[in-house]
Amino acid sequence: MAKTKKKAKGSGSQSSTHHHHQDSSTSHSIFKNSPVHDLLHNFEKAPDQWAARYVLVMTAILLRAAIGLGGYSGKATPPMFGDFEAQRHWMELTIHLPISQWYWFDLQYWGLDYPPLTAYHSYIIGKIGSFINPDWFSLNASRGIEGSDIKFFMRFMSLVSELVLYIPAVLTLANLMGKKFNLSRMDQIIISLLTINQAHLVLIDHGHFQFNSVMLGFFIYAMIELINSSYVIASVWFIGCINFKQMGLYYSTFIFVFILSQLKSFGQLVGVGVTVILSQAVVLSPFISDPKQALQILYRVFPFNRGLFEDKVANFWCTTNVLVKYREIVAPQTLSKMALITTVLSILPMNILLFIKLRKTKNVIPGLIYGFAGNSLAFYLFSFQVHEKSILIPLVPSTLLLLVDPSLIDIVQWINNVGTFSLYPLLKKDDLVLQYFVSNFLINWLIGRKLLMKSRSMVWDLIIKGSYLSLVVYHIIDYTSDPPARYPDLWVILNISISFAAFALFWLWLNFRIYKLKV
C-alpha cells in the first residue's frame, strides 16, 4: 500500500508539469452539472484530452450512422423521387457525360442546379461508386435505384464529406476561440460536440440526404481565416462555400462588410479582390471557354423564374402569405424586386453598425459571429426563393455564439430547437419522425434542463418557455388529429407561424446585441 501511495505522489508531481493546462480545465464551466459534462469529465485532464476528441468524433459518426438507418427524401416515390435521387442522379450524369453537357442534361428530371463544386464532388463520388458497383450509376438505367447497398454508399459518402470538412473545421475553430476567449478545454469540447450534433444538420444531411456539411465546413474554415486575419485565404475558402451551394451567399454580404472594415490599405483590397476573381475563375475554368456555358450555370443556379418561396418555409413571405396572397396581387418580377429591397433594408442597419464598430475595436470576433448570424438569418427571412433547409445556414453561426459566450446556451439551443422544429413537416414526409424525436431529445438532454430553462429575464422566460409549450402542443395536435379536409396545409402553416415568430424574435435580438456590442 505504501508503495502505491508513493507512486500516486510521484504521478502528482509529474503531472504538475502539465499544470498550466489543467488550471484552465478546472476553471468553472457553466456545463458543470449537465449530463454532457458528466459523461465527458473522465477526459478532463490535459493528458487525456486526445481521447476526448476521438470520443467526440466517433460518437458523431455513430449518431449519423444510426440516424441513417431511417428513411430518406423521396424513398419509393416514383417518378421523381427526392433529394436523395437528385444527388445520385448528378453523380450518374457527371461521370457519364462530357462536362459541357452537365448543366444541360434532362432538365425536366433532376437537372444539375448547384454550382460547379457540387458537380465535381458528385463526379468523384460517382467514380468511386461505379468502381464498386457500376449499376448504381449507369446512365438512365439507374434512375430511382433503391436498395440497402446504394443507400449505405451514399450515406457513407455524406459522412466522409462531413468528416473531412465540417467536423475538423468546428474542432479547429473551437480550439482557436478557446485560446482567444480563455475557454477551458472541457468547454471547447462540449461546445464542439453541441455544434456538431445539432439535430437539424444531422437529420438533413444523414436522414433526408444532402451535403450541406461541405458548404458549412468551407464557411467555418473561411471564418477561421478571418479570425486569423488572413483575408486572402479566407476568400478562397468562401469561394469554395458559395461554389458548393449557392445558399452560401447568405453569408456573402457580411464577409464583404467584415473584410472591408478590416483592410488597412488599398493594396490589401486589391489582393482580396484578385483572389476572389481568380479562385472563382479556377472553379469555373472547365466552363469558361464558352460564355453560353457560364450563363447556363448562372441560369440554373439562380432560378429567378421560380416562385417567391418553395413549399412552405418559415420566413416572412411565406408566413405573411397566409394573410396577403402576394402571388395573386403582384407580378413575379415585382415580387423578386420586393424581396431584394426588403432584404437589403433588413441587413443595412446591422451592417452599418458592425462596420463602424469593427473598425474601432481590437476584438472583432464577437462582431464577426453576430454579423454572420444576423445577415444570414435576414436572408432566410426576407430573400427570394428560400428553402426550409436553408435555416441551417443561420443556425451554424448562431450556435457558434457559444464560443463567444457559453452562457447564451439557453437562447442558442432554443433557436436550434425551433430550427429543427421548422423542418418537421419535411422530416415527417421522409419517414424520419422517430429520428427527429430521438435526436432532439439527445441534444437537449445532454445540455440539461437547468441550462435550457435558466431564468434570464421575464421576457426571455416568456419567449422560451412559451415557444417550447407551443412546440409540444403542436406535436400533440399533429399526432392526435389530421388537419381539416378544407385546409390540408393547416398544421404546416401552424408550424411555420410558430417558427417564423421565433426566428423573427431571434433576429431582432441579434440586431439588439449588435447594437449593444462593446467597442
Partner: protein, 569 residues
C-alpha cells in the same frame, strides 16, 4: 500516463492540504451513477429499433404467441413453427407476462399468431424491441448495485469503470439491440448473483443463480463454480476444532442449517419453474427441447474456439493432401482416414459438414460430444480446486471466468454469442491487477469482433464497428487509469508480452478491412463469392487464437499468482 495511480486521489489530497500519510479521502466515497450512461445508450438503442433484426426476432415472437395462445401443457409440445420453445420455463413465463402487455394494434399486426413463419410489421417490431430495452433495466440496476457496494473511493471508481463497460458492452448492443435477444435481462440476473456473492449474501446468490438457470440453461456451464463456492463458503466448515471429539468434528464439517436453507431456496425456484411440467408429466419433452444433441460440433459460422482451429487444420491438411502428392502417404499413415471421402466435392466444400452428414472432419479424427464434455469438465474442475481451497469472492469470479472459458473453448455446438459468458465475470476482476489487463483486452476485442459476422447488413456495419471501437478506446483508457499495480514490478518480459498483445489487437483492423473489402467487391469478382467461407474462417481463426491466448494468460495468473486472489493482502 506512466503511473495509472488514482489522479482523483491526488487531487483530493492536495486540495485538502494533506501532504503527509494521513489522507481523509476514504471517508468521502463519491457516488457514481449509471443513469446518464443508460440514457445516452437508450437513444442509440431506440434508433436501432427500425434496423436489421435476425430470425431470432421471429423466434421470440413465436414464443410470445405460443405462451399467450396455448395452455401451459402445450408450450413445449407445440411445433407449428420450426422455432419451438427451447428455453427453460421461466423464460416462457417471461414471454407470457410480456404477451399480456401487447396492445390491440400490435395483436392485429400478427404478433400473436401461431404460424409457421411470422407475418408481422412495424408495430410488432416496436413492441418487441421495447421489451428488450425495458427488460435490460435489470442489468443497469444490478450494475448500479454493484457500484454502490464499494466501500472506498478507489474501489468505487474501479467498479464504476467495470460497470460502465458492461452496461455499454458492444456484445449486448449487437446481440440484443440489433440481432435480437434478451441478454441484458439474463446477464442482469448473473450480475445480481455475483454482487450477492461479493456481499456474502449466499442465499441471494443461490436464488439469483437458480433463477437464471431457469431462464436460460446455457448458464449451467457456470454452475460448477457457483456450486463449489456456495458449498465451501456457506455450507462447509473445514476448521478442525481439537476440543471437540472426532465425530463431532466430522458432523460439524457441514453447516446443516445453512445447507438446508440454501437447498430449499434453490429447490423452491426449480419447483416453481418446472412444477407445472412435472404435473403434466412433460419433463422428458421439456428436456429434449432444452438439450438437443442432434446438432453438429460447430455452428454455421465457427465460434472462435478450439474447434475452429481444429477445423481449420483439417481444411489445411485437405489442401496439403490434394496438392502435395508426397504428403499423401505420411498423412494417411498418421491419421488413418478414408481417402475416398476427399473425392466427394459436396462434402469437401460444405461449411459445416455436421449439417450435411455425420462426418465433420475428413483427415483429423472425429470429435464426439463425450470428448468435448470431458474436456470442458476437466478444465472446469481444474479451476474449481483453487476455489475450494480459497473460497473468497475473487477466486469465485476467477473460477466463473474459467468455467466460462472452458465451456466456450471446448463445448459442443458453441455459439459465438456465448463469449459474453466469459467477458461478464472477467470484467469484475480486471481492475484488481494490471497484469489481468492483457488477457482481458485480448478477450474483449477478439470476442466482440467475432460477433461482427452476426450482423451482415451494410447499414448496420458502421454502427457495430464504430461502437465497438469507441467502446474499446474509452475502456482501454479508463481501465488503465484505475487498475491496481502489482506489488512487484514487472520485468522486461511483461512489457514485451503487452506489446505483442497490443499488436495482435491492432491486427484486427487489417483483418476486418480485408474481409470488408472482400464483401464490397463480391459481386465484382466472381472468385470472391466462392471464398465466402474463407471470410468467416479468417474471423474465427484470428479471434480464436486471441481468445485461446487470453485463456492461457488468465489461467497462468489464476494458478500461479497468489497475490491477485488474496483479498486480505
Amino acid at each position: 500516463m506512466s503511473a495509472p495511480a488514482n489522479n482523483e486521489k491526488t487531487k483530493v489530497a492536495v486540495s485538502s492540504k494533506v501532504t503527509t500519510e494521513a489522507p481523509n479521502y476514504a471517508v468521502r466515497v463519491k457516488k457514481y451513477s449509471l443513469f446518464n450512461i443508460w440514457v445516452i445508450s437508450l437513444t442509440l438503442k431506440v434508433l436501432l429499433v427500425i434496423g436489421y433484426h435476425s430470425t431470432d426476432f421471429d423466434v421470440h415472437r413465436n414464443w410470445l404467441a405460443i405462451t399467450n395462445k396455448l395452455p401451459v401443457s402445450e408450450w413445449y409440445l407445440e411445433k407449428t413453427s420450426q422455432w419451438t420453445l427451447d428455453y427453460p420455463p421461466f423464460f416462457a413465463y417471461f414471454e407470457w407476462i410480456l404477451s399480456q402487455f401487447i396492445p390491440k394494434f400490435v395483436r392485429d399486426d400478427g404478433c400473436l399468431d401461431v404460424v409457421e413463419v411470422g407475418n408481422y410489421g412495424m408495430p410488432t417490431v416496436y413492441f418487441q424491441r421495447l421489451t428488450v430495452i425495458v427488460s435490460e433495466i435489470v442489468l443497469f440496476l444490478s450494475l448500479q448495485w454493484y457500484m454502490d457496494s464499494s466501500k472506498t473511493h478507489d474501489s468505487s471508481r474501479r467498479s464504476f469503470v467495470a460497470a460502465a463497460s458492461l452496461s455499454l458492452s458492444p456484445g449486448i448492443l449487437i446481440i440484443d439491440h440489433i440481432h435480437f435477444q434478451y441478454n441484458g435481462l439474463l446477464y442482469g440476473f448473473l450480475v445480481l448473483a455475483i454482487v450477492s456473492a461479493k456481499l456474502e449474501k449466499y442465499l441471494m446468490c443461490g436464488f439469483w443463480f437458480a433463477l437464471l438457470l431457469c431462464f436460460k440453461h446455457i448458464y449451467l456451464y457456470l454452475a460448477p463454480a457457483v456450486f463449489i463456492y456456495l458449498l465451501r463458503a456457506y455450507c462447509l466448515n473445514l476448521e478442525f476444532n481439537s476440543k471437540k471429539s472426532a465425530l463431532n468434528n466430522i458432523l460439524g464439517l457441514v453447516k446443516w442449517g445453512n445447507l438446508l436453507t440454501l437447498g430449499s431456496v434453490v429447490i423452491a425456484v426449480f419447483v416453481v419453474a418446472f412444477g407445472p411440467f412435472v404435473y403434466y408429466n412433460e419433463i422428458p419433452d421439456v428436456l429434449s427441447r432444452l438439450f438437443p444433441f442432434s446438432r453438429g460440433l460447430t455452428h454455421a459460422y465457427w465460434a472462435p474456439n478450439v474447434w475452429a482451429i481444429y477445423s481449420f487444420f483439417d481444411r489445411l491438411l485437405i489442401q496439403v493432401y490434394n496438392r502435395i502428392p508426397l504428403s499423401q502417404f505420411p498423412l494417411q499413415k498418421i491419421f488413418q482416414f478414408d481417402p475416398k471421402l476427399l473425392k466427394d466435392s459436396k462434402l469437401v466444400n460444405s461449411s459445416t459438414r455436421g449439417i450435411v452428414g455425420d462426418i465433420e472432419f475428413l483427415i483429423l479424427p472425429t470429435i464426439t460430444p463425450k470428448l468435448t464434455f470431458l474436456l470442458t469438465l476437466f478444465y472446469q474442475i481444474m479451476a474449481l480446486i483453487p476455489l475450494f481451497l480459497q473460497p473468497n469472492f475473487r477466486r469465485f469470479v476467477g473460477a466463473l471466468t474459467l468455467c466460462g472459458y472452458s465451456s466456450f473453448l471446448f463445448g459442443w455446438h458453441v455459439h459465438e454469442k456465448a463469449i459474453l459468458i466469459v467477458i461478464f465475470p472477467m470484467t469484475f476482476l480486471v481492475s484488481q491487477d494490471k497484469r489481468l489487463l492483457g488477457p482481458f483486452n485480448l478477450l474483449v476485442t477478439c470476442g466482440y469482433v467475432s460477433l461482427f459476422p452476426l450482423i451482415f447488413t451494410c447499414n448496420e456495419w458502421l454502427v457495430k464497428v464504430v461502437f465497438t471501437l469507441l467502446w474499446y478506446i474509452i475502456f482501454h483508457f479508463n481501465f488503465r487509469k484505475v487498475v491496481r499495480l502489482p506489488k512487484k514490478l514487472e520485468g522486461q518480459s511483461g512489457i514485451i508480452v503487452d506489446r505483442v498483445i497490443n499488436l495482435y489487437i491492432l491486427g484486427l483492423i487489417p483483418m476486418m478491412t480485408i474481409t470488408t473489402l472482400m464483401d464490397i467487391f463480391e459481386h465484382k469478382f466472381e472468385i470472391l463469392k466462392k471464398l465466402e467461407f474463407l471470410k468467416l474462417m479468417i474471423y474465427s481463426v484470428y479471434c480464436g487464437i486471441g481468445i485461446i491466448s487470453s485463456w492461457n494468460g488468465f489461467s497462468w495468473l489464476y494458478f500461479l499468482d497468489e497475490a491477485i486472489w488474496d483479498i486480505e493482502a
